[in-house]
Assembly symmetry: C2
Homo-oligomer: 306 residues x 2
């Protein structure tokens, strides 16, 4: 039994209204696997980096018990690099640089030891690679979660639709839900998207929380109001990692557990944005996580007896 | 003991992506008093209309047990008229016409029978009239709720700040919180605004719900995801009316009751947007309201045992 996370492992250079960084470690699989590791012990990563990726960066994965056998290191090549700048509202950003490098011909090799995968997180990547990953697992995992973004809707919609058909949970943001469905109302959007294949849809709304849709059920999760959002990079990946990590821990996939998984994912994401890159989510204690989850409980609970 | 609502009583002409209306009855006090009447029996309205306001419109108030002694009818004059058009996202709108008419020299006369006011809702109006209303009540009400909007921040900030100082609860939206405080983060904005006088701040976020701030406590209330939003006009007024109406009913002002009041206010507001104008909130049954509140409970409850 294991939780496999596939996605980018990369360098980011980030500018926000509060500061900027040089190249720091980022990538969907980085954030997601770190987040998942707080809840589940057998997290295994699939990705590719260049030889510019440092040993200490890989050591960070190992410290969290993350299996890196599936992380290919391409000698003489460079890691994927992304540079972006956030606007004041932190909900929109401009991409300044995208250098695909090793990602350009990434072939996701699944080590034999990963074939026990029960929980699969397809982090943000080309839909084709996400699909190949599913196909290379001999047994279909118990739960497949797909995270994607508007970019793939723009350039690879057919591939994306095919991949979406194969998964259990899709996580996208509100604008992406509208783009994917052609519906403005998120309820109508969700109804359409649930007909495309996934049994569960999570619509991420950043500072406004998240919505979970399943059949005719809806769950609205709050976001923690924060005084400072230093850097939203990786928050969605962290959310997805915390979400599937919690589900892997509890071992039963149902609506009630999914609701809690969203709270745990949101709690991890709320830490992520407090510092640049993975700085905060690399160094959390279990108590910090538990306290943060309790904040979500306090934030949103009310008692109405009718 | 009574709940006094002051605000506009008006005609609106509304255009949304889903349709448009001729002149229909609107105004902050109209929506708010109707909403409050579902929870509290002694709702009294203060406002002004022209002789173009029809008897059947006033009859609607009376049918809801709303006291209209404080609703002045100016012979030979016309009621306040507003025409607006909503954009696709329903969160922004253009004002097409504003005819102040009777509102231009509105003097809020408080009938003697209103002096038992314990709960006062200052619906959206000039801050000066809101302040005059407070001053004309011989005994300070137990709870004063102030609803306002960006327009008054633009044209009458000093008056508004003076009025804000005198109230217990301020309800504004997220953009207005940012404008009033000069802070982008809603947490920072709330901290600043709570220093301006009110003990409670409610930040309305439309389809994203609402936040309640009090000392170092925060409550995040969900909004009901709706397939169709026909017309957002009056949703904020309806929210405020439902909110204070519920508090008047339970009779004790504390954070726990305020949380529930926000849910009840949100439930009423979720009905308001389903049809044009007051059409929906004029004709609700207690069962409909109770069922809708239950939807809010189901929507946002989760159980985490750590």
């Amino acid at each position: 039994m294991s939780l496999v996370v596939i996605g980018t492992v990369a360098f980011d250079a980030i500018e926000t209204p509060f500061g900027k960084t040089d190249k720091i470690v980022g990538g969907a699989a980085t954030y997601a696997s770190l987040a998942a590791s707080y809840f589940y012990q057998k997290v295994k990563i699939v990705g590719v980096v260049g030889d510019d990726f440092h040993n200490e960066d890989i050591a960070d994965f190992k410290k969290h018990g993350i299996d890196v056998e599936g992380l290919q290191i391409k000698e003489g090549e460079k890691s994927f690099f992304w540079a972006g700048k956030y606007h004041n509202d932190m909900n929109s950003r401009d991409t300044l640089i995208t250098e695909l490098n090793v990602l350009a011909d990434f072939d996701p090799i699944i080590p034999e030891s990963y074939q026990d995968c029960q929980y699969l997180l397809l982090g943000n990547l080309t839909p084709q690679i996400q699909q190949t990953t599913i196909n290379r697992l001999r047994n279909r995992p118990k739960l497949i979660v797909l995270d994607t973004m508007n970019f793939w809707m723009d350039v690879a919609m057919d591939d994306l639709l095919q991949t979406i058909k194969m998964v259990d949970v899709l996580t996208i943001n509100d604008a992406e839900s509208r783009q994917l469905s052609g519906e403005y109302s998120l309820v109508k959007a969700a109804n359409k998207i649930l007909k495309m294949g996934p049994k569960y849809l999570i619509i991420k709304k950043g500072e406004h929380g998240a919505l979970l849709f399943h059949e005719d059920l809806i769950f609205s999760a709050p976001a923690l109001p924060l005084a400072e959002v230093f850097d939203p990079t990786g928050a969605g990946d962290t959310f997805a990692g915390g979400f599937i990590g919690y589900l892997a821990k509890v071992g039963t996939v149902n609506f009630a557990n999914m609701k809690n998984a969203i709270i745990y994912g949101s709690a991890l994401a709320s830490f992520c944005v407090e510092k640049f890159g993975t700085e905060k989510i690399k160094n959390l204690t279990d108590k910090e996580v538990a306290d943060r989850v309790q904040q979500f409980v306090n934030l949103s609970s009310f008692i109405i007896e009718q």
